[in-house]
């Protein structure tokens, strides 16, 4: 069995000034545990640049590469572009329909990331029908999944040993159990799950569903983990992903 690539992940830290100092001490030596740290969106509470600075201060303490996607909270103040610029300046890679690779001792880790959006799941899903407002809503959900698929397709050329899909919204409803069913269509999007199933992903990591549960599977059986901080109740989880044996 090859050595695993160790992927640490957390989401929904919702940082602001009042939470300064909560994460930095716990992740300064994270290289002892993990090869990379993934952050699954809702980095900030109100989506301001000041809060993004708190995030950069806290997560900049990590001694491994930090890869993040934004969440809905990070868009709230209309400052998402400034937030991305600040985070990139501070060494945090922000993925949005894009991918990156990290070479570790155990092999090459490829991560494709997207915020994602609402849409829903089998049996309770918004339809691309009717008023322009409804089409805009569903259209964004569909588009975001198409962009994840493109990012995963592009990543294949880099020949990663382990491929991880990172999103804020959930690709499956398995990990929403615990959330009121009425709001599931606002928590995730089955098209994200389809993109994951069709592109050789080893692990999908998401956040957003604070009251959901950690573990689930896509329809094709890819492991999905909801790492929203209120779910995992820790600074991060570590997934030791064993690379597929080369054929």
């Amino acid at each position: 069995m090859p050595d695993p690539i160790r992927v640490a992940a957390v989401g929904d830290v919702h940082l602001a000034d009042d939470l300064r100092g909560r994460y930095a001490p716990l992740i300064t030596n994270i290289s002892e545990e993990a090869d990379a740290l993934l952050v699954a969106g809702d980095l900030t509470q109100h989506g301001t640049v000041e809060e993004a600075e708190v995030f950069a201060d806290e997560f900049g303490a990590a001694d491994v590469p930090v890869l993040a996607v934004l969440g809905n909270h990070d868009y709230h103040s209309g400052a998402e572009r400034d937030i991305v610029r600040l985070l990139e300046d501070r060494g945090v890679a922000v993925l949005e329909g894009t991918s990156t690779t990290i070479d570790t001792d155990a092999g090459r880790l490829g991560v494709a990331g997207i915020k994602g959006f609402c849409l829903g799941f089998s049996g309770r899903c918004a339809a691309d029908f009717g008023e322009p407002e409804m089409k805009a809503f569903t259209g964004h959900g569909i588009e975001t999944a198409a962009r994840l698929r493109q990012a995963l397709d592009a990543l294949e050329a880099e020949e990663p040993d382990v491929t991880v899909a990172l999103s804020h919204f959930s690709p499956v409803d398995d990990t929403l159990v615990g959330e009121p069913k009425e709001i599931w269509p606002f928590l995730g999007n089955y098209r994200l799950g389809e993109a994951i199933d069709e592109t050789g992903v080893d692990l999908a990591v998401h956040g957003h569903a604070h009251a959901g549960r950690e573990k689930g599977l896509t329809p094709a059986g890819v492991p999905v983990r909801n790492v929203a901080q209120p779910v995992i109740q820790a600074a991060f989880r570590v997934y030791d992903v064993v690379p597929r044996r080369s054929a």
Binding site: P4, A8, D18, R22, H46, P230, A234, V238
Partner: protein, 86 residues
């Protein structure tokens, strides 16, 4: 407070720039307004209660908000993810 006002107040807690808390639930029980859900800090709990008081619900506010468990030191949890059998 009727059902409609209760839902409006929930939405106010989600959209008020002081809070932006999307996980707070309100229930009217007799003379009480029960506030539940999870927030990340005492400051955020206080803000939620302040927003509610500003809307003057005319009920006794019962604070059942829980604080998110603060991530403490201790062994990080590892889980092995095996490749698919094919």
């Amino acid at each position: 407070m009727n059902e409609q006002q209760t839902r409006d107040l929930e939405r106010a807690i989600a959209t008020d720039p002081r809070t932006h808390e999307l996980g707070i639930r309100l229930q009217v029980r007799g003379d009480h307004l029960v506030v539940s859900g999870e927030v990340a800090s005492e400051a955020r709990r206080a803000m939620v209660l302040e927003v509610i008081r500003d809307h003057d619900p005319g009920l006794d506010i019962v604070d059942y908000i829980v604080l998110s468990a603060e991530p403490g030191p201790g062994e990080p949890q590892h889980e092995q993810i095996d490749p698919p059998r094919r």
